[in-house]
Symmetry: C2
Subunit: 302 residues, 2 copies
Amino acid sequence: MKLKILGCFSASPSKNSFPSSQILDIKGNKILIDCGEGTQIQLRRYGIKFSEIENIFISHLHGDHFFGLPGLISTFRLLGRTKELNIFGPKGIRKAIELLIKLGKTWINFDLNFIELEEKNTVKLKENDSFSVSTIPLKHRIYTNGFLFTEKNIKKKIKIEKIEKLNIDKSLYNNISLGKDIILDDGTRILNKDLTYPLKKDIVYSYCSDTSYSKDIIPLIEGSDLLYHESTFLEKHLELAKKTKHSTAVQAAKIAKKANCKKLLLGHFSSRYKNLEDFKLEAETIFDNVELAKDGKEFDIL
Amino acid sequence: MKLKILGCFSASPSKNSFPSSQILDIKGNKILIDCGEGTQIQLRRYGIKFSEIENIFISHLHGDHFFGLPGLISTFRLLGRTKELNIFGPKGIRKAIELLIKLGKTWINFDLNFIELEEKNTVKLKENDSFSVSTIPLKHRIYTNGFLFTEKNIKKKIKIEKIEKLNIDKSLYNNISLGKDIILDDGTRILNKDLTYPLKKDIVYSYCSDTSYSKDIIPLIEGSDLLYHESTFLEKHLELAKKTKHSTAVQAAKIAKKANCKKLLLGHFSSRYKNLEDFKLEAETIFDNVELAKDGKEFDIL
């Protein structure tokens, strides 16, 4: 799993960073998470193929998380897209996007599927052989979901030397990696566990933006390999964080620690701060493995 | 009058330029013309104070000309704006913007006045002592207006040596510059023309985007000091220009020549072209004084 940050600042525009947007690559499936204004400019800047995006997840309907969506959809049309596009987001998103497209008297040549959310508990939004996506209900000023992305490891790594020694036909390798036993020509059954290494665990990325400090999310994101948690403010603005239903870097770190996450990625910074290293320093007082989001930065999630 | 380009490319996103948006400064009045996605990022980048913008003119409801508007309005709110904001644009703009703001459950603390247009002939949209704005009806795929901005010169430059010699009180200087005669203490009338230089003519900026080649606009923009005319395509793509109701650089130059404009500014370039100098070269085969729009470039209109 690979994550690329397209934008990581909060609503007020910044000279050097765009509002929230990320591209998650799960085994070649390109998933767009949030779509702040200018997301399509960032996609172009970082050379991401527009046509590869099939699923878009929008956390909530504040402008810095979805005002880039109408422009992106218009561009899909301009580029001649025919492949369907799935947009998961809060109820109301369909009406807004359809109205904007209608005003331009443009027609869309691809299936635009809106999956509108209003469920307050966690729900599974998508599941296939490669990955699954569930909601992480967040506490913000309006209905907001984070998203939990799981890359499924259904294939075991095979012990190639052993298999070659047994002279097993290559056409069976896939079955072996999927956990099947093998019957040799002489009728001997070779157990799968003798031909493969143990199945690697699934890889989990949790995306939490925007939210006030919420213990309720801890069981949902337990053990995530990477947790992106918003930290709009530093601790000196804790009261402002509470008032606006955002989090501080320390609060994000507390969540990461309590949920036994492997790594914490901070973002959604208020443009009032000059030195973003302060976010890292504050979070590191609570949790060891902290990184800062930055436009264009890429993270391998292992 | 001073013009600053914030973005000058057409709909498909470019790495190096934003979609249509310009800031026109008429005697300190900051006017935003079109508001493509990312306009607020450009305003921030070029250090333009958000609070100084009081009037926004939107040519038409294609995304590359107004998808930056909801984000800009949200930012006005975040920055604590109290001053009213006037938005002139095609009918439908109010409903779209109000829906997007409503979805975020945010409230606006300033008067947001929409002046919705559906008139097919030219109309005067605004007039005060400093400037006036009229529509230039354009021919595009949807209802579109260009805008004609006139800086009024109502004050004459006074002949200061002559006035001092006559010992005229300074409190009367303003009346003199406004064209009034003066009666001296001995009853002698001094004619205004002897105290002032002739009134300088008004300064006119015409903004025409997007449009197919249209002779109808020529009488409306006659003698403009600066004409911005879209040139989405080069002449080799004339058929595509016709089909999409856009113009080529040569067509823009023909309009500038026939309307006796002083200078032509080309913009709204398709991102298919690598070398924009070709637009200038093509236009110069017809018209002498041609400039290319570029993000961040400033033009004095004299």
